[in-house]
Point group: C2
Chain length 378, copies 2
Amino acid sequence: MSETPDSAVHAVRAYIERHRAAFLDDLAEWLRIPSVSAQPERAGDVRRSADWLAAKLTGTGFATVEVWETAGAPAVFAEWPSDDPDAPTVLVYGHHDVQPAAREDGWHTDPFEPTVVDGRMYARGAADDKGQVFFHTLGVRAHLAATGRTAPAVHLKLLVEGEEESGSPHFRELVEARAGRLAADAVIVSDTGMWSETTPTVCTGMRGVADCEIELYGPDQDVHSGSFGGAVPNPATVAGRIVAALHDADERVAIPGFYDGVTELTDTERALVAELPFDEAAWLRTAKSHGTLGEAGFSTLERVWARPTAEVNGIGGGYQGPGGKTIVPASAHLKLSFRLVAGQDPAKIELAVRDWLAGLVPAGIRYGIVFGAPTRPC
Amino acid sequence: MSETPDSAVHAVRAYIERHRAAFLDDLAEWLRIPSVSAQPERAGDVRRSADWLAAKLTGTGFATVEVWETAGAPAVFAEWPSDDPDAPTVLVYGHHDVQPAAREDGWHTDPFEPTVVDGRMYARGAADDKGQVFFHTLGVRAHLAATGRTAPAVHLKLLVEGEEESGSPHFRELVEARAGRLAADAVIVSDTGMWSETTPTVCTGMRGVADCEIELYGPDQDVHSGSFGGAVPNPATVAGRIVAALHDADERVAIPGFYDGVTELTDTERALVAELPFDEAAWLRTAKSHGTLGEAGFSTLERVWARPTAEVNGIGGGYQGPGGKTIVPASAHLKLSFRLVAGQDPAKIELAVRDWLAGLVPAGIRYGIVFGAPTRPC
């Protein structure tokens, strides 16, 4: 290509602008299909949505378009190889099913009759996720037109599932069964948020989660704190000490090995995040919170987007009723969760937490720890 | 007196042995009165018990014997001044009411028909507290007989209430109203435990209690820990940190000023405690516990008898159901209690706890602390 990136962007935008009306007409047609995956009576509409999308992808020029059956709603797969065999393979993920919607839910217009108000199209799925998915049909055509190519610069694959709004119950099975067809160098999730109307957003990573429940057992039953307190270990006290040991004075997670492998933000990424017009007071309102507190050396956005964390989701033990009751409780429990970033391995985090915990529980307190199924960061 | 203490003790014991049978007959008569303060239908029996005791104290030689009315069951007051005007005044406390009892509760004999089995008298109240109270009638007579006195060596007062087993609901009022009559240099509580059958016991102090409830408020509602965790303060985390800050690495209470004024054990007291045939394994079984842990430098008995403590009686916050829930909880609470020893002032402890707490709660967390009515140590 002889064009500079700027002129290429300009050409793409010009193409999109010229084809805007036809694109919106097509999208509106798709949005009229109430592909509500959670409602069994809409199963036919979900299938109709998959077929509609498959036809449009074929029409766009994708070499391969298939409707993939699952035990639930069908997914759509499409593939358009680059003419450069060395080009990377990019897999775009999206979904064609939508949440239930009715006028009674507070919609000002029919949720399945796309309506333009003040230059914006309103319909169930317009922004989650049919709008984003369908834009790839226009985007790839713009890319070809702007570059003069007849095939994309990358090997392009689309996987558009039909059960995302129902918890993707068959997605893992589908992906595992079709792993060969889905092989890719990069995956783009075309179903995330946007910072604001005027700030296009690229989400470059998703945090994972590991979580655990810890049970601490002290006396075989609650015993009188006047008779035994101060002389036997108290599981509620131990629970508190475990919580206090989660972080150091800089609010960094203090579990040895916790940060091993963490992919750090680059200076460029930090600069980009810092450039965002972030209104912390407005953010605090969405957090329903009355102050910020977190890992020293990082901004609030860096803390919630790109840093691993440890959080107490629940703690309990001993007397919970009104007033006081002077006991050493028989047991206490903790529910902890850890947000993980790229480079962290949930299996290693689990081992690190287990080792750390074993070093914190004193003789005389028995305990158990159970981890839930983790979500890997990416 | 020309007698040595040992010979005086011998004379007292000899007197008691000689009058043992008559004493036990009299005690049995009192034990037959079912003075159950918790049962309204026994109110007449409780009054009969008071009258019976008053008559016996008069017969013993007390110069003044009065039945003191309360809004509930009557108490008995008796006074026997020393003939030495400079002698100290000793007030003995006890109670003449008893707990309910019935054969169905597991009694092998009628609880209100004193029965001697293997040289021990079994009846409700025999050891709590009629036996102890009534022994003062024999004890003072033995003292006089053994010393040749006609009045006790100290100004002796008895206060025997009738509502101890019902929580002493009118006792404070009674004591405050009669404070002048009850003035004393020393108070002996004749209603405590005995180490073992073969080890007579003197309890020289009673620990007091201060307790508080702490509420910690974070976000106005539970918020998602994936969106906000690690960036806003978590009240459950703060609760844990407060708990962890209660003690130092030596398990000493780490609240500044907490030990101010504490009456330390003397070397003699420590030696006496250490001489007791203490079976820690057996004690752990009564504690239902699986290990000991407490203030460094003190034995288990010293810890539970003579040292102040801080204990977590209850802790709670966040998600309590099965499995995990990734939230930053809106609130958390703590129930703490402090055992206090002689020299500690509950009002000062409350101020110390309040100051300490204020220094632990970070910006963004609001809190409240409420103290219950304290019990002063003595």
